[in-house]
């Protein structure tokens, strides 16, 4: 069960612990640097990447601006094709809908296609509480589930695990969930993959209900699209009798022509592949082929609130490629769990506080989980200016202001715990507006420099724990200028 955000530690505390875990740091460094280099090469193959990126952003922006229209189009098309559409305003409602739909089939087990939306709402846990077992079928999700762990990466949920750890998890845990690992399993990737294949095959062949998300919904035909590497998803999407897809409302794109852009942007950005190995598309139901019943649960869960923010809404363009995680120096050291959400890394730092609000200590700390280096914006295939949104959300934390909560405009107050910082910012601004005061302060610092401590008290202590402060010079620049040039140029 994921820790509720109210109880989870703030990002700096969680990250402080994870930066001390050298195995984790090494696993993350190796994995992110490998995929980072591959992605750069795959993107460099396309001369028109810049245009594709702009097109992706424009299509998403257009769709979001007319989201009501396209969602109604989706509902009509899915219904006409024999599917049923359900609307879920939040996680509880979505979980209740899926639980009811599974119960109505009489089944107690479901197989799952890797899905961020169902992680976001904690579906597996909600199903478990209702006596229904959900089996993850994506290899990395399987590793996470068997290890009683949480995903720590959007694309590679078990990125924080190395081969030896995975072997140990398979050996000790597989038997508790189904077919046990073969005797004498080693940490060779081929052996690990084969063990997972055998374990999962039994699930695919026995499951009557599958739950998936979708990477895209094509509005004109009501078609859902999943891209994947392993083929597990296709098994789940075709073999069971009932298919339930839980999809965020921002996943809609208008037409098949638009899909062409994203099928170039997504695989190159995420897995550094020219095309992903499996692209599955399904539209309602077809007699004698695939699931006999299809349900689409359209999930809001804070998305329309995010849409109301003129700066923050660009986060809804996200196609979950995870390129921003792989280049982020903060993610690389802190690991995904520190973000306390299904969405880690830079995109998580802007998406989670918009979907959940900035009330909990964790959610209020996420906009600060970045050095604003801009590497995430540079690689984003739909040009989300993540640093811009981070600053916008910091503003919401320290200054409060108007927001939309469940569709209603509200004014939130500044988060607690920033009073000293706010006072310091005001004092600094006053000094900067009064250069004489600034100069007096500089002179005082220069004259007392022999007395400056090497280790600062208060908030500055965090700095001097790992780094030395520069010495204050005997003379500031402005004093040097005045001494050597007089008042010339003092406009």
């Amino acid at each position: 069960m994921p820790t509720p955000p109210g109880a989870a530690p703030a990002f700096p505390d969680a990250a402080e612990r994870s930066t001390r875990d050298t195995t984790l740091r090494n696993n993350l460094r190796r994995a992110t640097h490998t995929i980072r280099a591959k992605r750069a090469a795959a993107v460099a193959e396309l001369a028109d990447w810049g245009e594709l990126r702009a097109a992706g952003a424009a299509i998403k922006d257009h769709t979001l601006r007319h989201l009501d229209h396209y969602l109604e189009q989706v509902e009509a098309a899915v219904t006409a094709a024999g599917g049923q559409v359900h609307w879920a305003v939040d996680a509880a409602e979505a979980n209740a809908i899926v639980t009811r739909l599974v119960r109505e089939t009489g089944e107690r087990e479901v197989v799952k296609v890797k899905s961020m939306a169902t992680q976001e709402i904690g579906l597996n846990e909600a199903l478990a509480a209702a006596g229904i077992t959900a089996y993850e079928t994506d290899l990395a999700e399987l590793i996470v589930q068997l290890g009683h762990d949480l995903p720590s990466h959007i694309l590679v949920p078990a990125i924080h695990r190395n081969r030896a750890e995975i072997r140990d998890i398979f050996r000790t845990q597989m038997g508790r969930w189904g077919r046990p690992a073969p005797a004498g399993l080693t940490d060779e990737p081929a052996e690990l993959a084969e063990a997972a294949r055998l374990h999962l095959r039994e699930k695919f062949l026995s499951a009557k209900v599958a739950v998936s998300g979708a990477n895209f919904i094509v509005a004109e035909t009501g078609t859902l699209v999943v891209v994947e590497s392993e083929g597990n998803g296709r098994m789940c999407l075709t073999l069971p009798e009932t298919l339930i897809s839980v999809v965020g409302i921002e996943k809609v794109i208008p037409s098949w022509r638009d899909l062409e852009v994203f099928l170039q942007l997504l695989p190159r950005s995420s897995t550094a592949e020219r095309m992903n190995p499996y692209t599955s598309m399904w539209t309602g139901t077809t007699d004698g082929d695939g699931p006999a019943a299809f349900h689409l649960v359209l999930l809001d869960n804070g998305r329309t609130d995010a849409l109301a923010d003129q700066v923050g809404r660009q986060a809804l363009r996200c196609i979950r490629c995870s390129a921003c995680l792989n280049v982020c120096p903060v993610y690389e050291r802190a690991g995904g769990h520190a973000y306390g959400s299904a969405y880690p890394g830079p995109i998580g730092a802007i998406l989670t506080p918009q979907l959940r609000g900035t009330v909990s200590a964790l959610d209020a700390s996420l906009p600060y989980a970045s050095s604003l280096c801009g590497a995430c914006y540079e690689v984003c295939p739909v040009a989300i200016d993540i640093p811009e949104v981070l600053v916008r959300l910091r503003e919401r934390v320290v200054e409060g202001g108007p927001v939309t909560v469940r569709g209603t405009r509200a004014v939130i107050r500044p988060a607690r715990g920033h009073a000293a910082e706010r006072a310091a910012m005001r004092a600094a601004r006053w000094a900067f507006e009064h250069p004489r005061a600034l100069r007096a302060g500089q002179r005082l610092a220069s004259r007392t420099r022999a007395l400056h401590p090497r280790h600062l008290p208060g908030p500055g202590r965090a700095w001097t724990r790992g780094r030395d402060l520069p010495e204050v010079p005997a003379e500031s620049f402005r004093d040097w200028w005045q001494r050597t040039r007089g008042e010339r140029g003092t406009a």
Partner: protein, 250 residues
């Protein structure tokens, strides 16, 4: 050509040598430099920490102080990035909130006249050989704002390659952040320190005795990390290298 030096609050208070080097360098290149004494801070610390309303008066102040100059030159990529990227945003937001267009006009007025030092040298003055001499092995860390927000590209390296006596060595993972990030270094000290340590190791591995940047704030972080590790590598601002000559190596 009336050129004003915006020395930045960090340089003014902690790194006066950088400002002095800019003056020396520009005067050697025949540029008359003014230092408007009423200048202070671009407002980036406030803005990036979420105090938008504290940064707005500093935009107004900046625009007033530098009103009469053709060019505003500053030895800090991140402060130029504040002016170029965020001043227009401050103006647009103020207008959208119905507070008039004065802030937007102030931003529009200063944005095209504000230059980072290497931009000014290469794009405005059209020089890459500034007649410098610097007998050291140097590696270059392209600071994030210079690299990504300003797109300085090859300009600093083009300048460094023309410096006589200087041996330029490549820095592995040069485009990775050093971990400073303003208040990030305090708010997320553990991650910031870990990033700094990795950067310091990469710098030490080059065998350089000097690491060069175009930003004193990053230099503070890199220097503080190197110092704590007892490293012999010195952080130096590019302006100090470019101002050095046979007679006077800074």
């Amino acid at each position: 050509m009336r050129v004003a030096l915006f020395v930045t609050c960090v340089n003014d208070t902690l790194y006066p040598r950088t400002g002095q080097a800019v003056v020396t360098l520009l005067e050697r290149l025949g540029v008359e430099v003014d230092f408007p004494a009423a200048q202070s801070c671009c407002g980036q610390p406030q803005y990036n920490t979420g105090y938008r309303h504290e940064s707005e008066p500093l935009l107004r102040h900046y625009a007033e102080v530098f009103a009469g100059y053709d060019h505003i030159v500053t030895p800090s990529g991140s402060c130029v990035a504040m002016v170029r990227d965020n001043y227009p945003r401050l103006g647009a937001r103020a207008r959208a909130e119905g507070r008039g267009s004065a802030l937007a006009e102030a931003a529009a007025n200063v944005v095209p006249r504000t230059y980072e030092l290497t931009e000014f040298l290469v794009d405005v003055l059209g020089v890459t050989d500034v007649g410098a001499y610097y007998p050291h092995t140097v590696t270059y860390h392209p600071t994030c704002h210079g690299l990504r927000m300003l797109g300085l590209g090859d300009r600093p390296l083009a300048l460094l390659r023309q410096v006589r006596g200087l041996k330029l060595v490549e820095l592995a993972g040069a485009d990775e952040c050093c971990g400073f990030g303003g208040t990030f270094a305090v708010k997320n000290a553990a991650v910031s320190t870990a990033m700094g340590a990795d950067k310091a190791r990469a710098i030490e591995a080059t065998g350089a005795d000097v690491v060069c940047t175009v930003d004193n704030s990053c230099q503070t972080h890199i220097g503080g990390t190197l110092s704590r590790r007892g490293s012999a590598v010195r952080p130096v601002h590019l302006a100090e290298i470019l101002a050095s000559t046979e007679g006077r190596v800074l």
